[in-house]
């Protein structure tokens, strides 16, 4: 009897203790870490579930709580329960809530939209077949004045006429052109006095395209576009608009497309941006690195204080992503590569300053004492013992930084820092996926080539 109560009492006591405070039973049985661990784990899971607020997940702390009571009772009987079970309950809740917070939803994957974007990307807009253009135009007065001049123009054997000589918005005109290429597709569009093209096709949203006859002539009717006078300062003032006729034919070979040219310009801007930034950063980083070198600055308390301050500043500066610095510089100096260059330079000063100072800290003191022993003065010691040791690693780190800066420069363009990244975001905005694809390829080529070149150069230096 006494034997039975002796075993039962701790069983009941620890079960009840853990029922009210998870882990308390285990704690009282001498398993202190286990008890505290259970309590903390339970509270963390409980707090998470309460914060998330979805009732389903309350199952997890409840199951852990039940396990805890069971464990306390078993422990009183001398047997601990595996910790894997509550761990599983906790992780299940954590991953389950994580899944919902991240809003994972594979049904959102829209393959049609993905293909609509990916399909044009298989044809990067970089080069295009070379083609010849045959362009002709004729002036038309809109709206009519009292004495409109003849809407007729001759040029290089081609004649274009509009009947009547003038018109108001929405009025029908007969246009005729002769002397163009025969049997060729011809685009006809309107151009307002400030040079904006307006379409003449169905609903004014498509290009009016016709084919010339065997003599190179065509005749059609058009309506003066409804938006012809939108840009006019005074819609009652007669002004000359133009009707354009344009024909294209292949001229053999390929040429750089307009986007292709922009990609090249952007690539050049990006590489130059990185180059300028690295150069500028180097100018500041070299003197700063000497101040940030422990072996040079730990001599007395003043220089050591300078060392600590410079080091701290460099560390703070280095911890700010150049993308964020770029946003600030875009505000200060406006959009464009200059802002990006400044941001990269500022970040690089910190990065190079640290790398350089580590080079200085790592130089071999042996040659310094050897050169001092020859009777050389301070400058000669620097020239013959210090500089030969630091120039190659400084150069290697600078090239490496340039390499990194080119990559960063592409990203910095996205926030308005100019270069190829800026072009990329513009093309994404107008949904020009062929252009986007050309930019992607250009970035990849730049990065791969530069990576290779910089690795080879550094190999020679180190």
């Amino acid at each position: 009897m006494s034997n039975e109560t002796a075993t039962r009492r701790p069983v009941v006591r620890s079960g009840v203790a853990s029922f009210f405070v998870p882990g308390l039973g285990q704690f009282l049985l001498g398993e202190r870490y286990r008890g505290v661990g259970i309590l903390l784990g339970f509270l963390v899971i409980l707090a998470t579930v309460i914060w998330y607020g979805k009732p389903l997940w309350y199952a997890s702390p409840i199951l852990i709580w039940l396990w805890n009571v069971w464990d306390a009772i078993s422990l009183a009987g001398g047997r601990a329960r595996s910790i894997l079970l509550p761990l599983f309950f906790g992780l299940a809740a954590a991953y389950g809530i994580g899944w919902q917070v991240v809003e994972i939803d594979f049904s959102k994957a829209n393959m049609d939209r993905a293909l609509a974007i990916l399909r044009p990307m298989t044809r990067p807009d970089f080069i295009q077949p070379r083609r010849e253009v045959n362009q002709m135009w004729v002036p038309v007065q809109v709206p009519c004045s009292s004495q409109p001049p003849a809407a007729r123009r001759e040029d290089a054997g081609r004649v274009a006429t509009v009947i009547p000589d003038c018109g108001g918005v929405g009025e029908t005109l007969i246009v005729n052109v002769t002397g163009m290429w025969a049997n060729a597709e011809t685009s006809i569009f309107w151009q307002n006095p400030i040079g904006n093209p307006l379409m003449l096709g169905e609903g004014e949203i498509s290009m009016l395209t016709l084919t010339t006859d065997e003599n190179g002539s065509l005749t059609t009717t058009i309506r003066v576009p409804s938006t012809a006078l939108v840009a006019a300062p005074d819609p009652t003032l007669p002004q000359f608009h133009r009707v354009y006729f344009e024909q294209y034919r292949p001229a053999g070979g390929y040429e750089l497309s307009f986007i292709g040219g922009e990609v090249l310009k952007g690539a050049l801007a990006t590489i130059s941006m990185a180059l300028m930034a690295t150069g500028l950063a180097m100018l500041f980083a070299v003197p700063l690195s000497f101040l940030a070198a422990r072996n040079l600055m730990s001599g007395n308390p003043v220089t050591y204080a300078v060392y600590v301050i410079v080091r701290t500043l460099l560390n703070i500066l280095r911890s700010i992503e150049s993308l964020i610095i770029a946003i600030i510089f875009v505000v200060i100096v406006g959009l464009g590569p200059f802002a990006g260059m400044l941001a990269l330079a500022l970040h690089s000063v910190a990065a190079l300053g640290k790398l350089y100072s580590e080079v200085i800290e790592g130089i071999d003191p042996g040659p310094i004492e050897a050169i001092r022993a020859t009777g050389a003065n301070w400058l000669q010691v620097v020239r013959y013992a210090v500089i030969p040791q630091i120039i190659p690693p400084f150069t290697a780190f600078t090239i490496y930084r340039w390499d990194i800066n080119v990559r960063s420069a592409t990203v910095i363009g996205l926030v308005g820092g100019g270069g190829i990244g800026f072009l990329l975001i513009e093309l994404i905005r107008v949904n020009n996926m062929r252009g986007v694809s050309a930019v992607f390829i250009a970035i990849a080529v730049i990065v791969i080539v530069l990576d290779y070149v910089s690795a080879k150069l550094r190999e020679r230096l180190v």
Binding site: I371, G375, N377
Partner: protein
């Protein structure tokens, strides 16, 4: 004549490397300094050309007080004192030629030397110095492309460029194998025979016996022995190096 009087050196961290060391070195001697690692040999040698500033004591060289020399005069004194190091202390990325020429820095116009311009005469002298140590063909190699023995010979050639009256050699053969040790010490011996005083720290007793004209022994920064090499027998050796010491013979390695 070099007179070292009551020389002491205490480092900022409190280590007393030298305690009241005094001895004289006559012109033309090959003085060997022996003692355990950390006994103050390197500090002693570096105090002579003041690469390390002594805390107390004086060093007179031909009656000029080196310890009191102002910077410009110190540089003039240093250029007459060649120095050879255990780790050779060459600028590894520079050419052998540049390393050797740098021995001439105390003599040339400082401004042209900063531009790396050297007189034809100095280049000729450098080639002769390299020829003397037998590696003239390596003149335009990078210093770190040479073997240890060759690098130490570059170190000697650099010291030769100083036209030295005194050579300080800080364990010049401790990083080399025994065969090379003899070849390096023979160069120093040759220079010594031409009248250059040599102060050299060494570890191996048989090298001491072979090359030293006189020996100074240091133990914990204190001079414990001064006399001829012959006087150092086994018992004396144990006294200097401690009871645990086992003599290692360079030739038997």
């Amino acid at each position: 004549m070099l007179k070292i009087q009551n020389l002491s050196k205490t480092y900022p961290n409190g280590t007393q490397a030298l305690k009241n060391v005094s001895f004289d070195v006559k012109d033309g001697e090959f003085l060997v300094v022996i003692g355990l690692s950390g006994s103050g040999k390197s500090t002693l040698l570096r105090c002579i050309n003041r690469l390390i500033e002594p805390t107390e004591g004086k060093i007179f060289w031909d009656d000029v007080d080196i310890t009191a020399a102002p910077p410009a005069e110190l540089r003039r004194i240093r250029r007459k004192i060649g120095m050879v190091f255990q780790q050779f202390n060459l600028v590894k990325r520079s050419s052998v030629m540049t390393n050797v020429l740098s021995g001439r820095l105390g003599y040339v116009n400082p401004w042209t030397s900063l531009l790396g311009i050297w007189a034809q005469e100095d280049k000729q002298r450098a080639l002769q110095a390299l020829d003397r140590v037998g590696i003239a063909d390596k003149a335009y190699s990078r210093a770190d492309a040479l073997s240890g023995g060759q690098q130490q010979r570059v170190g000697i050639a650099r010291a030769l460029m100083q036209d030295p009256k005194l050579i300080l050699a800080d364990e010049p053969v401790a990083s080399l194998d025994p065969v090379l040790s003899h070849s390096i010490l023979q160069y120093l011996e040759g220079l010594n025979k031409e009248g250059i005083t040599v102060i050299c720290s060494l570890h191996f007793l048989d090298l001491v016996h072979r090359y030293a004209t006189r020996v100074v022994a240091l133990k914990d920064g204190v001079k414990v022995f001064e006399g001829s090499a012959k006087e150092i027998d086994r018992a004396k050796f144990k006294e200097i190096y401690g009871e645990e010491a086992q003599e290692v013979r360079a030739a038997s390695l």
